[in-house]
Symmetry: C2
Subunit: 383 residues, 2 copies
């Protein structure tokens, strides 16, 4: 028996920009992100329908930008619009439409797909771009707090299938990410709030200073202070980017430390058919796993109360009847199945200090739900 | 404007084994390739229908192997059989069936899909595994000369869409590749021969010594000398593996030096609806581009004659009426489109020495086709 050992490394790089008015004529970020060779690069824009509605002039602004910079790139067609939110991930037809456009317009591996939208749209468009011709260049322009500070700056994309979140997907590195804080102005309060949930999560797991800075400014954030939100997004994106680079970027292991609170959150989203948004479900999931961390681990009661009261102060509803759904515990198994290998769940030893465990006790989960419901009803801890 | 630069590297490794009787009880390669953690790894086998027909006992052998090694892994279901050849890439239903099995059996990112078959089956199964849960571990067991010395040891997979070869796909690194030369015994002569075409290609582009060693043993190879074929496969796989590691593994550039002769080969396969097999089309494509290299570049007439006569000696038909199809030249554009960026075609300066060019002249292509037809008819060069 003979054998040959293959071995190589691949380096990945991309910039994440923070700007305002990405499609203003004078804003060079997008055009500078396009590599010009002999021929003008082709660009296909795909825009979140929700964002296009909230910004009535967005499509014409993109068209004007393409016209003004017609010597730098060629927009192959009017921007394609796909539904925002989980709808674009639940039906493969949207990915198929993007692939048909890639085919029709001869978009190649050196052309660009520019995705403008919330996290779900970025996920779906990124997935289509990653499988077309084995990978077309992708520029992400995230338009929500959640996508600007979390998924949009990362390397994952995907759509749902078999009633499972992100069952189909890939790890692919974007060419560039451009966060434009002007898009946040039109977010409704639920989407504004949702992004803060992920920032709290990163703080809880990795950075107590960041967590307490959110707590300090909770009222201003809840009241839509833009400068504070810019700071929160920058720091959260930075922590997220550092985490990807320092850890296991393509998740070959079983650990996913940034998924604190997510096993139940994913399931709650599914049970409620996405009536609960991701950030809202994550707030509930974090509340639940914080209580569990208090009941079964080292999180102290004062710390638990700080977490719960911050989430409440920001306006999150921390209890939902779907927590009693018999399917909830399937979320643990599905979480394990998606990531593979040993069940690995992040809990808290303290604020800013995550701790991975490999089992959760269903009785303690039930007890945690009771405690959470009680806190929700009476604003106090029964345990 | 602020920005954060993301930057990280990912290391990839996998072994390529050369063995006989991979599913014999005493052969440890497959089970050693499976990582055992707390729980037994789950394995889903997907087998090429053509291989299962040619080896009537293959399925029961796999089942017995799984039974004997039941303490090392758990086979989740009877091996799934999908059609061999391009059929499995032309209709997405086969990929969808594999994904349904991945869902049904709870195959996760630490489980394994083991693909047994020719290059097309490995491409389709690999694609399904790469998008399920953003990437399930894949073990390839290539069963043809072509897949054992070429595609099967590499990092590409995909299926056809919009009438374009490999329009959908991804770059993913297998966990292991196990080449079992016993599978070659039942290959029909066309498939036996096809794999030699890719070996000649690697020799022409990269390694004159290898090319001339094939020439030296051409009759024995044509007469199915197994030891010589083992040597050819090993050396060709080695060159292929080195090429991937030393170059641009995930093809971020525009160059694909190992695709000598492939722009027309891909198109001929499509025009003939895969009546021409890949290796047969590659033989024609190499003959065509060798003539072009002689007419427009530095390849000498004696070298050209050596190439054409070797291909003929091995039994390849070097002319096909589809070369006159008006769609042929679309192959150049599609080749560029798939890879992206500047058209980059490998031609020959000499045997063993490839030379990339960025345009091909359609008149010289037509002239090359005339010369090729003449050579086919009269066994001599008219130019």
């Amino acid at each position: 028996m003979r054998s040959i050992q293959q071995s190589f490394s691949v380096s990945y790089e991309y910039p994440v920009y923070f700007t305002k008015g990405v499609f203003e004529e004078s804003n060079d970020l997008l055009k500078q992100s396009l590599e010009v060779r002999e021929a003008l690069p082709k660009v296909l824009f795909v825009v979140d329908g929700g964002v296009a509605s909230a910004h009535a002039d967005l499509i014409s602004q993109i068209q004007q930008y393409a016209e003004v910079h017609g010597k730098v790139f060629r927009m192959v067609d009017a921007p394609m619009i796909i539904p925002g939110g989980e709808a674009c991930k639940n039906d493969q037809i949207h990915v198929d439409r993007i692939l048909a456009a890639i085919n029709e317009h001869g978009i190649d591996r050196h052309s660009y797909v520019v995705a403008v939208g919330g996290g779900a749209v970025l996920d779906a468009v990124g997935y289509a771009a990653s499988i077309g011709h084995r990978g077309i260049r992708l520029i992400r322009i995230p338009t929500t707090v959640l996508s600007q500070n979390d998924s949009g700056v990362g390397v994952k994309n995907g759509i749902n299938a078999f009633n499972k979140k992100n069952f189909l997907g890939s790890f692919t590195v974007p060419t560039a990410v451009i966060n434009d804080s002007n898009f946040l102005d039109t977010l409704n309060i639920r989407d504004w709030r949702c992004g803060i949930a992920e920032a709290i999560k990163v703080g809880l797991v990795k950075d107590a200073t960041f967590f307490y800075s959110i707590q300090e400014h909770a009222d201003q954030l809840a009241n839509r202070d833009k400068d504070l939100m810019d700071q929160l997004i920058y720091r959260c994106a930075e922590l997220h980017i550092q985490h990807i680079a320092s850890g296991d970027p393509f998740e070959q292991g079983s650990s996913r430390p940034l998924d604190f609170g997510h096993w139940s959150a994913h399931k709650l989203e599914q049970i409620t058919e996405h009536q609960l948004r991701h950030g809202e479900a994550v707030a509930i999931g974090m509340a639940l796993d914080s209580i569990y961390s208090y009941l079964d681990h080292h999180l102290t009661q004062p710390e638990l109360l700080i977490i719960l009261s911050l989430l409440r102060q920001l306006g999150f509803e921390l209890y939902h009847p779907s927590l009693r759904d018999s399917q909830l515990l399937d979320g643990l198994r599905e979480f394990q199945e998606h990531l593979g290998g040993r069940l690995t769940i992040m809990l808290l030893d303290a604020i800013g200090s995550g701790k991975e465990v490999h089992r959760m006790n269903s009785e303690i989960i039930k007890k945690s739900i009771d405690v959470l419901q009680d806190y929700h009803n009476h604003n106090s801890l029964s345990a």
